[in-house]
């Protein structure tokens, strides 16, 4: 996808860390259907897997698909996933960086 064809609204979110973290929290809740979790309950700096939000490997696969669909950013494997999914904040930075590289 060419940069100039990208959704301006999405670009605005990606470039604003605060808005991006909120967006990602919502995306995670919706994608994984976490009915009992609210945006306010997710700590921006807490790990997403195991101890933090307690997500598992299938959750990671679903998030990878959602991220690719929304941002056109690819997370190939667990090695990259470890960095990208370290926290909401880390995921926001990861996507911002990849998004800029287009």
């Amino acid at each position: 996808m060419k940069k100039n064809k990208r959704n301006n609204e999405l670009e605005e979110i990606v470039n604003n860390s605060e808005a991006m973290c909120e967006f990602l929290k919502k995306m995670i809740i919706e994608t994984l259907k976490l009915e009992h979790v609210t945006v306010g309950e997710i700590d921006r700096y807490a790990p997403l897997f195991r101890k933090g939000l307690g997500l598992d490997s299938i959750d990671a696969l679903e998030l990878v698909v959602a991220i690719e669909k929304i941002f056109n950013v690819i997370i190939e494997d667990e090695e990259v996933g470890k960095i990208a999914f370290a926290s909401i904040d880390a995921l926001a930075h990861f996507i911002q960086k990849k998004y800029e590289q287009g």
């Binding site: 696969l61 990878v64 690819i74 990259v80």
Partner: protein, 141 residues
Amino acid sequence: MQWVETEEIVRFNEVDEWGMAWYGHYMAWFEVGRLSLLRRFDLLPKQMVDLGYIAPVINLQCDFKSTVGSGDRIVIRTTVAKPEVAALTFKFEILLKENRTLLAQGETTQVLLTTNKKMIYRLSGEFEKRVRNLVNYCSQE
């Protein structure tokens, strides 16, 4: 959905004290079905390893509908669900051959790892091609 069918005979050592096939043994029959399907697409466990991948089961589900005894002939039906993520979900049905009574139905989900145990989030190369062939075959109407 396209299913592959394999036949087995319930052996004496597969039934419990009540004369019924032991519940845990259905998993072994699932495995028979899985291998006969994977064989067609050059995706047997050894062939996966040769490509650098393994696919451990992370979820298993089974409903038992009817019982079967020693000497009975069964049909194991196997297919793969169209994947939405980089994982493989096999679906199984076990029928009594005689009248096609449904004995059990279940499924397993496998994630994909490299042989050095790194989980992959998207498939590529020859492995992707073979998995795509398998999925396309099973998705046929």
